[in-house]
Subunit: 410 residues, 4 copies
């Protein structure tokens, strides 16, 4: 349904052409300084029309905070917010309405609800994500201020063009040489990348140092533009890193950190795949090479030398960078004509009207960041509860040393 | 936490070395004929020691049904069940206890709970999945009997060896030719494959017709054995198809079908990635080729010609085969020595004792099927509720034709 | 938190002096005709200023529907709605702010959140109930249209004045005579009472036929007015009947119908007690007299001769009228001076400023109805899911006759 | 359904005549010393056959802990436990099976599930409460050890015999004198009463000092026995106090403390009413007398002079004693013959076989305590999460003094 989260809970409403889209964010810690700008910044990164690569509609998407905040500080009560829809013109019936749009939600919404919004995507529209982004911005404000948690997503692939070190390894059966699933250079990039770097190019695929990488960095742009000219569309991948998350988050066995994260990410429109850490590629690397050995960090605490686990082991965060990759399919709405069938089965040809995003991944970046922030926030609150409860208990002196942190452990 | 589901709800308990592992399955439809054998069959497919490919421990894993069933019929009340742990020998302290095992859950459990089970994996042990498999078997019994729903999972990859048509396409930047993300032959295999076919080979990678495929089919076996000899481990992928699911399942926006499915799958131990339909590979195929056009099925209803969507569009099932792929990392426990650090930071060398699974994917097959059944069951009940409620309303005659199924539609 | 319900889910936001109060109603069956007026009618019954008995503020409380509805029909997607707050003047600091108001939420909100809204009751204000009433009106529209379910609440007590047959029996220890906990006349009134009857008097205590009852009917009015003159306040009780609920609702063991109903009712501001059926008084009546024997209804189905159970047995509705009584404490805000202490412990005298409700029960009537509708709706959807699932199973022929409805049963 | 709680989560299973009844307790803080005896003590207080006042079946009810504990310390993972049913003889069909037992759950279970357990009460049996009591004992162990929280329930009424100060005030319309809803003496008793005092008499109605009270204290016993002789049954009330709960628990607006508590209590079999603090009687007392003024406690913190609120204001605990009263209806199973109808509508006469509890309230005492502990535990964890999160934020210096605790406040 349209509510996500246990202690940090986000509920959203709104179709593409109704009066407004909005959200209620419940469970925000009280005492957080929060202003419109904290939310608006990410909403503006999300809206279309930011470059000639995405859809040219210029939606302003100004957020109106309704409740839960006074004198710029959160009260701990639900934060209501909304963004008005500027476009709610009545939909004119046309012949295209006889067709369920291929790979769109027209057919499935009708099968599920028996009714669908008359115009645009209704609830399956990208405008639905406004509530997510606003909620995520609030979570993020807290996470950054208290734990210094940083969340940065970027475009890691468009069509066949993938960032180096994120591309799938060649499945060469005769070759026993084992590749790293994730290169040290890529891990380093994850550890330092900023949103400014990401936004410095319209593709939101980050700058890289070497020349070859720079070349590859530009290719996706051309591909996006090419798809646009051809009235076609192309998919892509978004990679996201979450830095500074304390160890201990995630609730086995069903609510492991990666399970909650995967759930949240796969609820974003147009997503088809999720991988954390070394993901699919990691399955090709034997345990002896894939395991992340422990080392001592500068501050004396334990860390891991490599990070194929992506910051999560046994469903629980280990304090290392959490990173994951998300697949966005090629947008279903394309301008060129498609051979398909009408609702009544009559075969025919359908061509979409209007302007459409040929590639959604650049705009998906803040949405991914938002959902990541929401998941971390909710899991952090839950683990807070356990730690606070546990800390009041006296040490259980009867325990054998194998069951507690050995002396000297961090 | 250890409860999954809204209306069909599974709660599990149990570590590797406690008295028993078990589950409570709540919300099972009343009136379902259910016997021990319905549950035992899948439990037996899950247990180790079935071939020399997996761990040689011979756990019997006999299920004891406790409640919720009388005269072989479900009462609609919670079904309690348990499987006794045969091995609960006290753990002997050894020097290996000074080390958190790399890529295991030792370190994160201690960080999260401040305490961990003395022996084995505790709650992160594979024995935790017994409750899942039992619950899934119950869901599956219902789904098969009422909707004819069939769920079949199989091993689609071990290390670098992938089944044809499931392997990643070559990321050839100079080549503009577009591959199918998923071949028609693979879709055909998904549409017909049976558990008998899957189990006919110890790898649980299904038989295929052509010679080349047969050869490739055998390679994973060799790879598994090789890993075993080398005291190493290797990961793999499991692909699963769910056939016969009615259109309309899944609850946007946060509980889309693929989001719930991904959540469930990524909660299985050792999983690192999930993709539905064309998944990551589908992002490389332009919309004009990736969209699934509608066609008329034999029974007059609408279906899709291709199925890159994997049976889900807009987060809602469309009646086509649902298929997805899941990555299992290389098992963290290996016999060879690893350079790592002790809890207190002291560098050292750790070698695991005992016998371990070099590759878990064959045993993972029934676990994947179980979680799939649980998700479908829960979503089916929720959609049942809506449909039953909606069916009592008179048709809303004021609606424009664009909002309801056009006359003649299916 | 501020979300209620499993399948019919209501989330609310808003304090007394923020921009607006509102709600998201998720899970409304699609295809329901719904207009502003359906919601406004109950909102208007809730607002203050309707008579000289309640607070004289004239809040218009016009609802603005935001989403989930098109052409006057629900889409099945979340319905967003809001009511603007007209009064959000800045609060002027005064000496009264040094005091936590006795029996108010000032102290507990500060203890819980460390911060509270500057003006009025914040989230503990009665304006919070606007979202509940709006959501309840939507549920009610569905329940009435499909099942003919009718929900009518009324004032059954103000101070020491109780409606006949609802008053507590005298605990006369020497008297072994046993009173009915609930008289047949009262049950008859419950079975027929309408909102029009309830609203025909400003107290919302329904008209009754006999003269004596008429006299008693007027007494509460005088009491309310007297309390107002004395700058004091008085509590009261609201009784509610839900007619036409099908048998089978409620989810044992933790979500029994009365448990969910009690939860919902005790979440209404100022409530302190809940009883269903014969309630506290029923504990004084021996089983032989308190049991509800079965009889055949006119339509051939089974019903009960008496209804001490209040329409619920074993936590599940039995098809009879559901009725319950709810206690509202005397409003904490009174104009006369109170001896109490400041936050810092300094003793002192506090007198509230402004105008206040001397008795909230008349205004509570639509709030009680709303929460009742929400509970029935949610439970109905859940039971719908089970029934739909179960109906697809073949009859379990192996069952002994004691386990299923005997032949000829209804 | 059969799961209760958000962070401290209890799931139960089991009918009266199946293999066992049991529970999974998830979310128990790790590091708590916990042994069988901690659970067994309360289970033994719950079982029948403890005196000639209750049912003479001598069930041993030995608990078997299955998981989540090692070396007598909780691991933080789910605690599985079970108690075997000794009586699972097959049910012999008899003529009584033609009748739904009046005010029992036979009829409603059949309406809900279409099937019911063949013997006894099935899931509506009192044996269902074993899981609750076990779970509550675990919660209680934690609450006592960390916060010194004490929970004591006792029988406050049997039939028309009520403890002094807990009896309903006389609704004398001509008398304007105002009674205390709750007397200071009763509040004092609540503040000091122990389980030892409660258990010192078989009725579990606590000893009192004065002669008159002693006399009344004995009357319920006679009434219970009289009911037994007469093959009849009688209801009663249980009052419970929770001492030492910190201020700040409860989650407005839908999950207020009393709403959660009421939910939990009304899920106990045979309950029909719940009141907190002054409850129904408090509605008769004007605000000027009913408000609880603030005073300074010995430790310098704020407390309230009276406690009509029952320790909860605005849905949040205020640190005072929490007390509530619960109504248990007269048991439906009585030995004397009842005129009723068969399932098929045939009128007839039904007499129950076997031995039955004439009055359940003495045995209900530990069940009420258990559910109270579960609610407090869950709410404590949730508030822990908020406090821990909020404590990391810097003080919001921009806030006006009306929004935070004034200087010198506690």
């Amino acid at each position: 349904m349209s509510t996500y989260g246990t202690l940090f809970r986000v509920s959203t409403y709104g179709e593409s052409h109704c009066a407004s889209v909005g959200a209620i964010i419940d469970g925000c810690p009280p005492g957080l300084e929060l202003g419109v700008q904290d939310v608006q910044t990410q909403l503006s990164r999300r809206r279309p029309g930011q470059s000639n690569l995405t859809t040219p509609r210029n939606e302003k998407d100004l957020v109106h905070l309704q409740s839960g905040i006074e004198h710029g500080v959160t009260l701990g009560t639900p934060i209501g917010l909304l963004v008005k829809n500027e476009d709610h013109r009545p939909h004119d019936y046309s012949e295209t309405d006889l067709y369920p749009r291929p790979s769109h939600a027209d057919y499935t919404y009708l099968q599920k609800y028996g009714i669908k919004a008359s115009s645009g995507g209704g609830r399956s529209s990208a405008r639905e994500t406004i509530g997510r982004v606003a909620a995520g911005a609030i979570a993020e404000k807290y996470l950054k201020q208290t734990f210094g948690i940083e969340i940065v997503a970027f475009v890691s692939g468009v069509g066949k063009i993938h960032m180096p070190f994120a591309s799938p390894s060649t499945a060469d059966l005769d070759n026993d040489e084992i590749d790293d699933a994730i290169s040290p250079d890529f891990l380093k990039l994850l550890h330092t990348i900023t949103r400014e770097q990401v936004d410095s190019h319209p593709t939101r695929c980050p700058h890289v140092e070497t020349a070859e990488r720079m070349t590859q960095y530009l290719i996706p742009v051309q591909r996006i533009i090419r798809a646009k000219d051809a009235q076609d569309s192309i998919g892509g991948t978004v990679t996201c890193v979450i830095r500074g998350v304390p160890a201990g988050l995630g609730e086995p066995v069903f609510d492991k950190f990666e399970a909650k994260l995967g759930h949240a990410m796969l609820s974003i429109p147009a997503t088809k795949a999720f991988e954390i850490g070394s993901g699919f590629r990691g399955t090709e690397v034997p345990g002896s090479k894939h395991n992340d050995p422990f080392v001592t960090r500068e501050d004396g605490s334990l860390g891991t030398k490599t990070n194929f686990s992506g910051g999560v082991q046994g469903g629980i965060t280990n304090g290392e960078d959490i990173y994951f990759r998300l697949a966005f399919k090629s947008p279903a709405t394309i301008s060129q004509s498609q051979e398909t069938a009408q609702y009544d089965g009559t075969p025919g040809s359908l061509a979409a009207r209007g302007r459409h995003d040929p590639c959604v991944v650049p705009r998906a970046v803040p949405i991914v960041e938002a959902m990541a922030a929401i998941v971390v926030m909710d899991q952090l609150l839950i683990q807070n509860a356990r730690k606070a409860a546990s800390s009041l208990l006296p040490p259980a002196s009867t325990l054998p040393p194998t069951m507690v942190l050995p002396a000297g452990a961090q």
